[in-house]
Amino acid sequence: MVQDDPASSGADDVPGEKAAWSGTDGQGPQRQPSLLDDHVEALAVAEQVATWRAFAAPLAADSGAVVQDPELVKLAAAILAVYADHQSRRGLTFAQLGDGLRRLGIRVPRGAIDARLEHLHRMGFLEPYLPKMYQGHYIVRPAGLAGALAAARVTERGGVDELILLLDRTRTTLGARHPDSGQVLTHLNSCRHALMVFALDLHRRVAAGTAAELIEACRQHDHSSFTRQVVELNEMVTAQFSRNHELEEAGAALIEAEQFYRSQVRAAIGKILAQGGGGLNFDVLTPAEYEAAAVTADMDLLAEVGTGLLADMPGVHLNPEALIEVVETYQPRSRTRVRPPEPTGTEHPDPLAAAEEAREAVRRYRRLGLEALLAGASEVDLTPHMQQGWDAAARIIVDALALDADPDEPFELDLSEYLLISPGAPVTYLHPARLIRTDIPGHGDGLTPEDSAQHGAADAG
């Protein structure tokens, strides 16, 4: 595990910006954190940094050129997402990039983001949209995109993707109508070099690696298709350049390299299996592979699991007393909701009549309430009654409005337009209101106050 001395960190590292955000995917089930988690996380970070150092070594001017915080590398990939999501086609300013990164859930301090964007600009990852000074809009240079993606990929697959890419590129070159022998030779040699590098790394891991390193190696290198691809490449070389001894030798050397590589993969796998599967660790494959098998594996493949398993259930223990008790007292658990009892018959089975009766009762109660406020007078100021509380105010105003709107009721509501505000009163603001009874003398209907009182008494009765 290679880790830099913090003192030798690159000049672009920003203090205090470590691990302030947890990635943009927001996925992954959560579990109870433990002290061990911190240790595992530290190891994973160190492994990532070591991989990037090796990855960037051909490009770096000194050993401190690689960042120490993986979150800063992820930030570069997040910038790609900001550009993809933004509507602007003329580049983005640093401010827009900062806003976009925060929308993606990145919680790096603003100063740290600005410093990082400035660094990416200096390195050419971000370049001005127009070649003018101070125009302030930037786009990502495609090479920067490749770097950001490769940086992420190299930590996931340990560089095996490069080998796959080399093999594919060689196959494409050989598949051309008129393949260039020089180019084919270069590609064959590149494949051989890559295989040898991986084979030697595996050899080291088998000899001195930890169980975790071996499991990691198995996850990355357990692809038996390499053998088939190399054999096919060799056949293509023979078919296309049957008399080109240099290419045929290169093809044979590639096969030898693949055999050596394969032997090292098998040695690593054999060591894992000899150690009981690294404690029967499921990390030897990726979660995606298990998920794919759970969805796409066919019946025959699935049924190869557990062919040696035997039914192993104990016999039933029977308690005769419990048996008889169940027979005599069995009460099933009800699974259906029990209906409430049928209501008894009413005098008015007609629902419309019942509704009409209920409406009449409500009107009568309202009338009685307002008449109580009138106290036999022809009109009354409702304001002091409403100021007693919000409940009373609401009830009074609703009753008065309802009876005012009812043409059969002899009530009028005079609602002021101005607002009465009383900060210390239970009802802090209201519109003053007066209630007027229109069926008493003085309002043209010929009724005396006694008649009115009798009317109310009859209603109350």
């Binding site: 098998r266 029967l280 098998a293 049924a303 039914a311 259930m313 039933v316």
Partner: protein, 446 residues
Amino acid sequence: MPDSTGDRNLIPQEPAHPQSLPQPTAAESPHAADGAVLLARIRAVGSTPADVAASTIAAAARAAGQVDRQLIEVAVPGGTRRILALGWAEGAAPDPGQHQSAPPRQLSPVQLLTWATCLAAAWPRAEADPYPGAPFRREDVLRACIGMGAHDRTVVAALRILSQAGMIRFTGSVGRLGPAAAALPHDTWSALRRMHDRLPHAALQQHAAASTGTTDSEYSETVSGARQIPGPPAGPVSVHDTLVRAAVTALENAQGPVARSDLGMLADPAIRRATESALADCGRALVLTQEGSWTTGYSDHIARTLAREQAGTLGKEQRAVLALVLLRAVAIPRAQGRLDGAWTSSSHPVTLDELAANRQLSHTKVSDALQGLRAAGYIASTPSGGYVLGPAIARLSPAGVEGLWEDLIVLARPYGYMAERIRARRSGTSAADAGRRANVHKEERG
């Protein structure tokens, strides 16, 4: 098991075997292995044909006798074939209250009610031999249980579970008591005979009057009884032997692993060795789980033998669904880092919908397979309706667990070097040959 003349008169009416077996001689010892396979087969299947060598039966009876068990030979209803089941020695039976951490397997109330109804139908007269008893109709039992207040679906499920447990057996719609009923302890049958009049005869007669086709002649021709195959002669049992028998009884009849604190006697190396020896004679092995509890499982060589014979193995669809459960409940959460510790007791439940997400398996197939897996002990249900690994997974030996892990690796990456290496090791060929065969298989699959 009692017969018509009393509770302890199952001694053979035609004694083909000696009343008591002599101690094994040097010439007999090779039969001990066959006896162990026979006992393990009974454990896996519930019964085994009785037409095996007398020496094998004698060895099995002797091994069973060492752990308070007894071989019982019973007739297969409707035929002349006889089978062997594993009953209990005189006065022996698991004690449900002895080990709180792992009580013996018991029936739920509705299962008890259903079996009581089956028993009442099969055993109308207390003085008769209850096994195999009279045939009864599924419909009659169903109607009687529903008449007593049980829901039809729960009774149907109970009939299926009782059948899987060997307590009853159905041929079409006609059922009889199963070999597991014949193997119930003597004391249980004595108590049932005393309480015979309290079985649900009335409910059964009320609903079965019109439909039953059972006749007395049919009943009488089935009363062929069961007989115990005697084990070693009874003799003084030392405290040491008592402890070994108690430990084996607890381990073999517990639903799952038993806590160490419940089996303190196994901390004594001498008792542990004696327990292992007694279990080995029965084809079983003592297993210490990763959580530190005790349980038992099949010895590796016995398991291989039974698997070759396809005795008690899982069906194709059951294996496929178990693979899905293992992928969902074990492999995926562990590869994602969500779970750690021993994976044989995974507590991560999976739902029926998750399992049926596989493109090859419908809900119905998955559901049917889950029932079989539950009966075999490999799946258990959670109160929330999910499925977790069952107690039989914890009974696997270390080699069995490793084999299952390898199966999952081969399943998830069937054409990798690791799968190739695993196949080669199992088939005893070189990895290259195994790889070639895998690639041919891959090409055939397209």
